[in-house]
């Protein structure tokens, strides 16, 4: 639905987080000063927490007899033609061996998965697939900025601010040196400080945004991240509910394909397929059944995983999935937490509504007697479950800096089902049920503040 026009957040010129209003740009297509576009109604867009439909009964109002009729009507009509919770056609995704994730290319599916539960990530965007909008904006066809552009501006501002501040400091020091009658050449250290700061920024700038877009200009198409086996991207359908002028703009811009696809990580895929049953994954055109999907992800979970068939109970994908499923089933929106050096971030309603309150870090726990039966096993688990205090303080401090609470989630690892350590792959649910999850919330405690 609303992939196109909305207002992004524009920062003011100081480094505060921005106010939420868009400013009309100097765009040529706007002949008059357009009224400020409203912020999109996120509450409405993201009204479904999962990509499933529910059909609540109409409210029962005791003093209004009509409400009873309404209820009865709905019940009976649903009796004869029951509406389904699931989409009529299963969502489709394609497993990519290169990226070891599942790609979704159909526009409607992408929107559905993003809007109803915040699944996936646009491979050319930071989270929500925004590449198309960014492109159009680049070509001057879209008035509002995407959040990537907003960020780029902000970074540019900050970089200039930092250089300016460093220059002022340097001048102050030079002034001091001159007053003390020392030589008037500025100390060499100060020069390199600003230069060093400047150069890496330049490079980073290019890498993050500039290069990719430049390449588009040249080729019109990026080979980035695509394998030949994947089907063609769906062209931008004009039946999409875009606003009229945007639709024309897209064609006018000469953008034939939305180069971006939605990338689902393994936990999301398994949850959508096994948990909700709304996703079907194919590999080179052949659909993969859920149990094989499970095995596939386990096998790919670590880079050194051998081609053996057996799945270890402490397989890192398994652990991640157990925790993912656990929090999703309690109603949380679970997103990857790499940017904050943790496993997951927990959102109350979703990243568009508020920042994540909790940052989840998974720790395996080998409490079962099986794991201490032999010395060899003891040594192995010691290595896997040991965490040092500096590590803990590091991630805790990072979370404190961004106003999040760290939650350590210990996952109790069951002994293997079979003697050879393998996991039977046929019963996903019962495998998952053997684990046990326990959460601990951490917080730094300061002696003085808590006195009263």
């Amino acid at each position: 639905m609303a992939s196109a026009i909305y207002s992004a957040e524009v920062p003011s010129l100081v480094t505060d987080p921005g106010t939420n209003r868009a400013v009309p740009t100097e765009n040529a297509t706007e002949s008059q000063r357009a009224p400020r576009p409203k912020k999109p109604n996120y509450g409405q867009i993201h009204s479904r927490p999962l990509p499933l439909e529910t059909y609540p009964l109409p409210a029962f109002i005791p003093h209004n007899p009509l409400s009873i009729f309404r209820i009865v009507y709905v019940v009976f009509s649903q009796l004869f033609r029951p509406p389904s919770s699931h989409p009529s056609v299963c969502y489709k995704g394609y497993f990519s061996h290169e990226t070891q994730s599942v790609h979704v290319t159909d526009c409607k599916t992408i929107r559905a998965l993003w809007e109803k539960g915040f699944f996936g990530k646009g491979n050319l965007s930071r989270s929500e697939p925004r590449w198309l909008d960014q492109e159009m904006r680049k070509r001057g066809l879209l008035a509002q900025e995407t959040s990537e552009e907003v960020t780029r501006k902000r970074r540019e501002e900050r970089r200039r601010f930092k250089i300016e501040r460093a220059r002022k400091e340097r001048e102050a020091i030079e002034q001091q040196l001159r007053e003390e009658g020392k030589i008037s050449h500025p100390a060499p250290i100060d020069e390199t400080e600003t230069l060093d700061n400047a150069q890496p920024q330049e490079i980073r700038q290019q890498l993050s945004n500039g290069n990719i877009n430049d390449r588009i200009e040249e080729n019109g198409r990026i080979k980035y991240g695509r394998t030949p086996a994947l089907p063609e991207k769906t062209p931008i359908k004009t039946t999409q509910p875009l606003k009229l002028d945007t639709r024309h703009s897209v064609e006018a811009a000469g953008i034939e394909l939305d180069e971006e696809h939605l990338q689902l990580n393994p936990e999301e895929v398994l949850f959508l397929a096994y948990g909700l049953g709304v996703l079907e994954v194919s590999d080179q055109g052949i659909p993969i059944p859920t149990s094989s999907l499970f095995k596939l992800f386990c096998r790919h979970s670590s880079c050194q995983s051998p081609e053996t068939q057996s799945i270890q109970p402490d397989d890192s994908f398994l652990l991640k999935y157990v925790v993912y499923h656990h929090f999703r089933s309690l109603g949380w929106v679970v997103r990857p937490g790499v940017k904050f050096a943790v496993d997951y971030l927990l959102y109350n309603k979703g990243p568009v509504f508020s920042h994540a309150e909790f940052a989840v870090m998974i720790i395996p726990s080998y409490n079962h007697t099986y794991w201490s039966e032999s010395l060899e096993r003891k040594v192995k688990i010691q290595q896997k479950e040991k965490r040092d205090w500096w590590w803990l303080h590091r991630i805790n401090r990072v979370q404190t800096q961004v106003h999040k609470s760290l939650v350590l989630v210990y996952v109790e690892i069951p002994p293997p089902l079979h003697d050879d350590g393998a996991i039977s792959e046929l019963d996903v649910g019962n495998i998952l049920k053997r684990y046990n999850v326990r959460e601990f919330a951490l917080r730094r405690w300061v002696a003085n503040r808590n006195r009263d």
Binding site: K339, A341, W391, H393, R394, N396, R397, V398
Partner: protein, 313 residues
């Protein structure tokens, strides 16, 4: 003030596996001359209600102690033993002699405090336009007691240790009429009465963790280091004395072949964000063929360090 000088090598107390310094001159000297700052863990008298400024003793990291010993600036003393034998088995003569010394010091202190108090009240009276010696209504306040009363602002009953003597009239003491009661003193170090012990030859070099090569490497380049647990690193690295400088790096040491989670790099990078610090990870390159004997503190010591900054902002 003239620069304090200390004879090298100086002793480091080993108590319950920890390395401590009790002599304030050594503390200042080690800081100034050898860039070793340690951590002050003691309570400063009369300032015992805050945790920002702490006093003697100075706790040295084993890395710091080892570095000083390796370079010949210091030696380790097994302090528990020397105190046991020195004090629990002290002869009567030694004891009485020392008590006499302390008594003398105590009287001197009492005298000087009284003088200062008299001077102060003299000044106060002069300011008020009155001349003459201290009157009977002025309370006998010693400088120390003044400090004490100022130090305690809390309602805590326990802390109002030194009550201001009541302002009731006290007879004037002329300087020589009545012998002053001596003060009692708790000395800081045990030398005297104990002699400064020689090093115990059987004591081995302090045991250090695997991060020692990085520590020595950074120290040899002029950096000061303090333990960095609260910041999530092994050492916080300063370009100069932490009294006057902000830290530049948050350093974590690792073995050359040690595996670590890539997520940790992200965490480290994020750590320095916005606080003008960089995350540093380093260790000794043990993959090279030449064997390294002895310390890591020379230049060309095979230690590599990498700094990581978060590019997200």
């Amino acid at each position: 003030m003239a620069d304090i000088s200390v004879q090298e090598p100086f002793p480091i107390s080993l108590i319950a596996n920890r390395y401590l310094l009790f002599d304030v001159n050594i503390v200042t000297y080690a800081r100034r001359e050898h860039n070793i700052c340690g951590v002050l863990i003691g309570t400063i008298p009369h300032l015992s209600q805050q945790n920002i400024f702490l006093g003697i003793p100075l706790e040295l990291m084993p890395e710091e102690a080892r570095l000083l010993v390796e370079k010949g600036h210091a030696y380790i003393v097994e302090d528990v033993e020397s105190h046991k034998s020195g004090f629990l088995e002290m002869s009567r003569e030694e004891r009485l002699a020392f008590l006499q010394v302390m008594d003398k010091q105590g009287r001197e202190t009492a005298l000087s405090n009284k003088k200062k108090a008299e001077e102060r009240s003299e000044k106060a009276l002069q300011r008020k336009g009155l001349a003459g010696k201290a009157q009977e209504s002025s309370p006998r306040v010693s400088e120390t007691a003044e400090l004490n009363t100022r130090a305690y602002t809390d309602a805590d009953a326990e802390t109002s240790l030194f009550d201001l003597p009541s302002g009731t009239a006290s007879p004037i003491f002329s300087q020589n009429s009545i012998a002053l009661e001596p003060y009692f003193i708790t000395p800081t170090t045990s030398y005297p009465p104990l002699p400064i012990p020689p090093t115990t030859p059987t004591l081995s070099l302090p045991d250090v963790p695997r991060t020692y090569p990085l520590f020595a490497h950074l120290h040899s380049r002029g950096y000061f280091m303090t333990p960095g647990l609260r910041f999530g690193c092994h050492y916080t690295v300063y370009p100069g004395d932490p009294l006057r400088f902000h830290s530049h790096f948050l350093a974590t040491g690792a073995d050359w072949d040690e595996e670590f989670n890539l997520l940790d790099i992200v965490g480290g990078g994020r750590l320095g964000t916005g606080v003008k610090k960089a995350y540093l990870i380093g260790g000794a390159d043990t993959s090279s063929k030449d064997s390294r004997s002895g310390g890591y503190s020379d230049v060309g010591d095979g230690v590599r360090a990498f700094s990581i900054e978060w590019a997200g902002l």
